[in-house]
């Protein structure tokens, strides 16, 4: 299984891999926002965490569509389906590798973008922490969409549409944890714990559903 993890990591940093494109998209989208809402610094700081979260959500989801499609096109998926190692484990490891290659960079890039959004240090730290806790959940949910769209000629947008509604709880608790950290009276830990619980929940449910979809889309 470690071999699968490292193979996927290698693939996403090799030429044509998607790791960098996701971060670039994230940065582009987030840096477009101030042009839209205007350079009102207080407003930016106010909506900053939400924008970072939404940008990360979109960047994660839009890069996910090839997760299984590439495997299917060159026949690797067939071999993975045949093994006695549970497919759900394979899916889980692939998600983990995908997150390390394209979710983690988003987390790393978020502080810089936070500065652009005029967020203070506390908010930036909290955003990073919640992104770290929450983006894996997005990857796991997204895997379901990717598995569903594995045989589609153009999965990209469709995966996002299918998955975004399911990813909303992650967004809600992620952002509310950040706001809780910034505004004093509200406690920071409970939403963060919920976020982590959601991530754990989807770490089970996501691969399960994705494996089911993959099994049934074989042809």
């Amino acid at each position: 299984m470690m071999s699968l993890f490292f193979r996927d990591l290698k693939l996403s940093v090799r030429a044509g891999g998607g790791a960098m494109i996701g971060v670039l998209f994230f940065m582009t989208v987030v840096s477009v926002i101030p042009f839209g809402v205007g350079p009102d610094l207080n407003l930016l700081a106010r909506i900053g965490p939400a924008i970072l979260w939404i940008g990360a959500l979109l960047a994660s989801l839009l890069g996910l569509d090839r997760l299984f499609q590439a495997e299917r096109e060159d026949g690797s998926l067939d071999l993975m389906l045949m093994q006695e190692t549970p497919l759900i484990l394979t899916v889980f490891v692939k998600c983990a590798a995908h997150w390390s290659a394209s979710g983690l960079p988003l987390v790393v890039a978020s502080p810089f973008l936070g500065l652009f959004m005029n967020m203070d240090e506390l908010a930036i730290g909290a955003t990073m922490l919640t992104l770290l806790a929450g983006t894996p959940a997005i990857t796991f949910i997204g895997a379901v969409g990717a598995a569903v769209a594995v045989a589609l000629p153009r999965g990209g947008l469709l995966v996002s549409i299918l998955v975004l509604p399911l990813a909303i709880p992650v967004l809600i608790f992620g952002v509310s944890a950040v706001y809780a950290a910034v505004e004093d009276p509200a406690p920071f830990l409970p939403p963060l714990m919920i976020l982590m619980a959601i991530t754990l929940f989807f770490a089970v449910i996501g691969p399960l559903a994705a494996a089911a979809a993959l099994r049934h889309s074989a042809d």
Binding site: V144, V148, A151, L158, P165, L166, A212, A213, H216, S217
Partner: protein
């Protein structure tokens, strides 16, 4: 060296859909008539009963809003059951049922949203708030549309069936959220003046037309659903016949 010759007997397990078509032909006229009947009664009741002293005329919106909201959830439940049927029992009609239900469910959800908004404007002074129930209904609407887009994007119904079934089941989480959101998530809940009507405390003055309309909507749903299933079966037959035509056209000219 052994020779296993392979012969194919022509057979079809489409008996089931065929039987369904016959059944639909018989049932549909009755269902349709019943639907019209209930709608007539429901509409008459909903315009002749008294208005509420607080909400005035707008209470009449309830008679379309609540049934369509219920139907939007029931339709998804039907789809989820169908999805189970596809995945677990591999019933040939289950997938047809799920696919036919999606546009109907989307329509009812749309109706619930619009009538809710039309009720919200005079009651709350705004068309929309990001209250948990409203939001989760909107998410349901988006999920219906997403499923429709998915069904359209896949050419081969046999393959899209099981795959979208998985998605339907995953999305079913939303239904209890809609149902119980009022209790769970109180951030921006609707004002008490409205909730006065909620639950079993509803005045029988309003209960009757509401129930009749609810039955009428349910009947309407089943009528439309069965008809749409029939259409879907026909559509699949047309597709497979056309493929057959294409194959035969190749064959004829193959042997000049």
């Amino acid at each position: 060296m052994s020779e296993n010759s392979l012969a194919i007997r022509k057979f079809s397990d489409l008996a089931n859909p065929t039987r369904f078509l016959a059944l639909a032909d018989r049932v549909l006229p009755w269902l349709a008539a019943l639907t019209v009947l209930f709608f007539a009664a429901g509409l008459w009741l909903s315009f002749t009963t008294e208005g509420d002293y607080q909400q005035g005329e707008t209470v009449r919106i309830m008679y379309v809003h609540v049934p369509s909201a219920w139907l939007s959830m029931m339709c998804y439940t039907v789809m989820a059951i169908s999805a189970l049927g596809t995945l677990v029992w591999r019933h040939p009609l289950a997938d047809v049922s799920a696919k036919a239900a999606a546009p109907i469910g989307a329509s009812f959800t749309f109706l619930a949203l619009v009538t809710g908004s039309l009720w919200g404007k005079p009651m709350w002074g705004t068309w929309w708030v990001w209250d948990a129930r409203l939001t989760s209904v909107f998410v349901l609407f988006l999920m219906y549309l997403g499923l429709m887009a998915l069904n359209r994007a896949m050419e081969d119904p046999a393959r899209s069936a099981r795959v979208s079934a998985v998605l339907v089941l995953v999305g079913f989480v939303n239904i209890p959220i809609i149902k119980f959101s009022v209790e769970w998530w109180n951030t921006l809940h609707q004002p008490a003046s409205v909730m006065r009507l909620g639950g079993p405390t509803i005045d029988p003055e309003f209960l009757w037309p509401l129930m009749i309309m609810a039955i009428a909507f349910t009947l309407l749903f089943f009528t439309l659903h069965i008809a749409a299933m029939r259409n879907e079966i026909w559509r699949r037959r047309v597709t497979s016949l056309r493929r057959q035509v294409a194959r035969n056209a190749g064959r004829e000219s193959l042997a000049p």
